[in-house]
C-alpha cells in the first residue's frame, strides 16, 4: 500500500511538472544568442545591443556567446542541432547564405527559422588619401588601362567584401588583383599603409582612417548613400548596379513553435526599431532595415539561391 501511494505521488508530481512544462508561457528562462564571430566585431556589437533591448522587453536574461569559425559555419551547425524551444537563437550574417555554396557546411537558410532582419551594410570603395583617383570614374578608367595591376584588399577569400569587389569588376568591366586579409579592418589598415591600393570593406571599418585623413571613400556600393559619408555618391548615383550587401538577421532552429517565434519576432521588431538601435547603426555605418519573419525568411532564401549560382561563376580561386 505504501509503495502504491508513493508511486501515485510520484506520478502526480511528474504530471504537474510535465504540465508546467507544456503550458508554461514563453519565455520563462535564460535565452542564449550565438554569434558566429569573435567579440568586438559588428555582428557581436549588434547582437549584444539587441540582446540587451529584448532582455528588457521579455524580462528574462539574454546571454550572447561567441562561437567563431568557418565564416559562422561552426555556429550555424551548432544552432541547427539545438532544441527548437526558442531559447537558443542565433545571429545570422550574410555569410549564412553562402556557407553552403562555399562548401563549408550543408545547412542553408531553408533549414532554419528566420524571424527578423535587423540591418544591411554596404561596401565602400576606399583608397589611400594620396591616391591619384578622386572619383570612382578615375579609378575605373585607370583600372581599364591597367587590368590586374591594382590590388584590392578584402576581408578574406569568399567573404562578402570579396564578392563586392568581384561585383564591381563585373559591373565596370575591369580586373583587379584580389588580396584577402583577416577581416575588413586589416584590409583598411593595409590601404592606410599603402600596401594595397583599394579596400572594399564596410563604412565603419574605414571610418577612423577617413577621419584621420589617411583614407578617402570614392563610392558606396549600394543604392543609397551611407549615413557616415553623406557626400560620397552611391553606386546608383553613378549609374552602376551591384547588389551585394552585407546583412544581419536573427533566427531560431527549424520547427520552433509558431507562438514562440511570434513572441520573439515582436520583441526583436521593437528592439530593432528602437531609437537606440537606429543611433547604433549611425555610429557603425549600418543601414537599419527591419524585415518581419516571413520577409526575412524569403530574403535569406533568395540570397542563398543567388550565391549558390554566383559562387561557381565568380571563380574565386
Amino acid at each position: 500500500m505504501k509503495k502504491f501511494t508513493l508511486i501515485l505521488l510520484c506520478l502526480a508530481l511528474a504530471s504537474t511538472l510535465f504540465a508546467a512544462g507544456t503550458t508554461e508561457k514563453f519565455p520563462s528562462k535564460q535565452i542564449n544568442i550565438v554569434v558566429g564571430a569573435s567579440a568586438g566585431g559588428t555582428s557581436d556589437v549588434v547582437t549584444r545591443f539587441l540582446g540587451k533591448e529584448i532582455e528588457a522587453t521579455l524580462g528574462v536574461p539574454v546571454v550572447v556567446t561567441n562561437k567563431p569559425g568557418g565564416s559562422s559555419a561552426v555556429a550555424v551547425e551548432y544552432m541547427a542541432a539545438q532544441a527548437p524551444d526558442g531559447y537558443n537563437l542565433m545571429y545570422m550574417p550574410v555569410e549564412n547564405a553562402m556557407v553552403k555554396a562555399l562548401g563549408f557546411t550543408q545547412i542553408e537558410p531553408k533549414d532554419i527559422s528566420y524571424f527578423a532582419r535587423a540591418m544591411t551594410l554596404p561596401a565602400t570603395v576606399t583608397v589611400n588619401a594620396n591616391a591619384p583617383w578622386n572619383t570612382l570614374a578615375d579609378l575605373i578608367n585607370d583600372a581599364k588601362a591597367n587590368p590586374g595591376k591594382f590590388s584590392v584588399g578584402n576581408s578574406g577569400t569568399g567573404s562578402i567584401w570579396h564578392f563586392a569587389a568581384v561585383g564591381i569588376e563585373q559591373a565596370a568591366g575591369i580586373k583587379f588583383n584580389h588580396v584577402p586579409f583577416d577581416g575588413g579592418a586589416a584590409a583598411a589598415t593595409a590601404v592606410m599603409g599603402g600596401h594595397v591600393d583599394i579596400a572594399t570593406v564596410a563604412p565603419g571599418e574605414v571610418k577612423a582612417g577617413v577621419e584621420s585623413g589617411k583614407l578617402k571613400v570614392l563610392a558606396i556600393v549600394d543604392t543609397e548613400r551611407s549615413s557616415l559619408y553623406p557626400d560620397v555618391p552611391s553606386f546608383k548615383d553613378l549609374g552602376l548596379n551591384v547588389e551585394i550587401l552585407g546583412w544581419g538577421c536573427f533566427a531560431a532552429p527549424k520547427n520552433t513553435p509558431a507562438d514562440v517565434l511570434k513572441t520573439l519576432e515582436e520583441a526583436f521588431a521593437k528592439a530593432i526599431q528602437s531609437k537606440g538601435f537606429q543611433d547604433l547603426c549611425k555610429t557603425y555605418g549600418l543601414t537599419p532595415a527591419y524585415l518581419n519573419a516571413a520577409d526575412a525568411q524569403a530574403f535569406a532564401n533568395s540570397q542563398a539561391e543567388w550565391y549558390q549560382k554566383a559562387v561557381p561563376s565568380m571563380n574565386l580561386r
Partner: protein, 144 residues
Amino acid sequence: MSKAGIIFIGSCIVIALAFMIPAFDFPGGSSDGAPGPGYFPVILCVIILILSIILAVSYLRHKEKYFQTNQTERNNLGVFLITGGAVILYTIMFIFLPFIPLTIAFIIFLNRLYKRTWKFNITFSIAFTLIMYVIFSKFLHVML
C-alpha cells in the same frame, strides 16, 4: 637507440607523410603568382622528414636512452595511464553528457584513483564542481 626514440621519430615521419601526400592534390597557386594552399605544408613536411632523419642518425650513433624509467615511475604507470585515459574520455563525454553529473563523477573517480578518503572525495567533488559551474556558466557565460 631506444624503442621510444624509434616510435617518436617514426610517428613524426608518419605525420609528415600524412600531411604531405594530400597536399600534392591541393589546387595550385593562382595565375598571379601567389603560391597555392599546398605550398607551405609540402615545404614543412620535407623539413620535418630531413630533421627526423638527422635525429635518427644521431640516435643510432650515440645509443642514447630516451625513455628511461625508474622504480617509482614503473609503480605509477597504472595511475598515470588511467589519468590520461580519463582526461581524454571526459573531454569526449563532455560533448554528450550534462556538465554537472559528468564532472562530479570525473572528479570522484580521480580522487578515488589518488586514494583520497571518501569523505573528502564527495565533499570536494561536489563543492568544486559547483564552484566551477557558477564561475564559468553564470559569471563568464560559457555554454556548459
